[in-house]
């Protein structure tokens, strides 16, 4: 029997190949999950469409998200706010989704929206500062006005924040305590 390393290695060729395929598969799987099964675009309790509201009816963002430029939190509109308008929009009153809304309203229950843009508790983020700095909502939230179901376009993770702060060289934008708390 020879002492050539290659000969010795040959039988290991196939397991190695299998391994490679497996690893490749892992990447594919992760990618597929991210694309199709992730929490980036969950089914909401009511099929609310930003497309209809923002584009078709040209309602500005802060008409509903009233706190965005005043407080750290943009604020999801209260049920009363929704009803406020929809009472005066008879055309869609019979629409099944609107009926859901009405149901919540009559039960005096909040709508359990599923959070799409979520930051961890240790992050200090304020909408106010970013909006007063002249950022458009879309810069982080993507073309919301074209979405029928809200979808997260950004990772909302630290590298993403840091990159933006770096590009615009925000004053002390890369000091940890600017965002961490």
């Amino acid at each position: 029997m020879s002492i050539s390393v290659l000969d010795a290695l040959r039988p290991g060729k196939k397991p190695a190949l299998l391994g490679l395929v497996l690893v490749f598969g892992l990447f594919v799987g992760a990618w597929v999950h991210g694309k199709y099964f992730s929490d980036r675009s969950p089914i909401q309790p009511i099929e609310f469409s930003h497309m209809i509201h923002a584009t078709d009816n040209e309602i500005p963002c802060q008409h509903c998200h009233i706190y965005a430029d005043r407080t750290p939190v943009a604020g999801v509109p209260s049920v009363s706010k929704c009803m406020g308008c929809h009472n005066s929009v008879p055309s869609v009153r019979e629409h099944p989704e609107i009926l859901k809304l009405v149901a919540y309203w009559e039960k005096r229950e909040p709508i359990p929206w599923i959070k799409v843009h979520d930051l961890p508790d240790f992050v200090h983020f304020t909408h106010k500062r970013h909006i007063r700095a002249g950022l458009a909502c879309q810069e982080c939230h993507g073309p919301v006005e074209t979405m029928n179901r809200i979808t997260r376009v950004a990772t909302m993770r630290m590298p993403w924040c840091v990159d933006c702060h770096t590009e615009r060289n925000v004053e002390h934008g890369r000091d940890c305590w600017t965002c961490h708390k």
């Binding site: 508790d121 240790f122 304020t126 002390h172 940890c176 305590w177 708390k181």
Partner: protein
């Protein structure tokens, strides 16, 4: 390479922080301090310090970002008790900052010695290097008896096991003040606009906090007081806290 050398040269020269807007500083007047410990509870309330329980105290594992140290002088009947509040001195040349292998603690442009809980891997070197022993380690993950957790301050993280923590000069309050300043286009926050919990609570007004880069600030004036000194000055850690000694009459 030369740029690095340059950086190194001008790094932490005395007055390195003067070029920034803020250099947060505190003065503690020991002639006013009565050791009532209102500051300790204020800190606990503001910064979500855990309620560690009797056992942990017995093991000497309490967490108190600010503590009152007691020193007896003399013997009965001419015995005296001296109190000295001890909290993070936010040294300009902090030993702890060189120690951390992952930069979880560093000095920021406001002259604050900061601790990033998320970055901490728990080598605890900073606590060993700190001569003031004001860094506290989370030996466990502490919990609050329901409904005490409702009191937790949402502006401050609740720390998990395995991370170091310490006084931040109530950075969340500084942050809010800066935010307000920005809202009405002020470059700097006004003197007295930022008050850490301990300073706010102090019933004898022994603690004064402010921006020593602003010569008009009350703290800058206090620092000029001839009674002023810094604890363990000989170690050249250049603390940001100036103590005013008690007067003997």
């Amino acid at each position: 390479m030369s740029t690095f050398v340059e950086k190194l040269r001008q790094y932490r020269k005395p007055g390195y922080y003067d070029k920034f807007d803020y250099h947060w500083t505190m003065t503690i007047d020991l002639d006013r301090c009565t050791g009532c410990e209102a500051c300790m509870v204020a800190c606990q309330a503001e910064n979500n310090l855990p309620i560690v329980g009797e056992k942990r105290f017995a093991e000497n594992r309490e967490i108190k970002w600010i503590r009152i140290e007691r020193y007896w002088e003399g013997e009965y009947p001419d015995v005296k008790m001296r109190f000295i509040p001890m909290l993070c001195q936010h040294c300009d040349d902090a030993p702890c900052e060189t120690a951390c292998p992952v930069f979880a603690t560093y000095h920021n442009q406001d002259g604050l010695n900061t601790q990033i809980y998320n970055r901490c891997i728990g080598t605890r070197t900073c606590a060993v290097y700190c001569p003031y022993e004001v860094r506290y380690f989370n030996w466990f993950t502490y919990t609050w008896d329901e409904p005490l957790e409702q009191q937790l301050n949402p502006d401050v993280t609740v720390r998990e096991k395995g991370v170091m923590e310490k006084c931040t000069f109530c950075i969340q309050r500084i942050r809010i003040a800066k935010d307000n300043a920005k809202d009405d286009d002020r470059r700097r926050v006004r003197d007295g606009e930022v008050v850490p919990a301990c300073v706010q609570s102090c019933p004898t007004e022994a603690l004064v906090f402010g921006n020593s880069n602003d010569p008009e600030a009350k703290v800058s004036k206090m620092m000029k007081n001839p009674r002023g000194y810094k604890v363990l000055e000989e170690l050249n850690t250049t603390p940001s806290i100036v103590y005013l000694t008690k007067v003997h009459s």
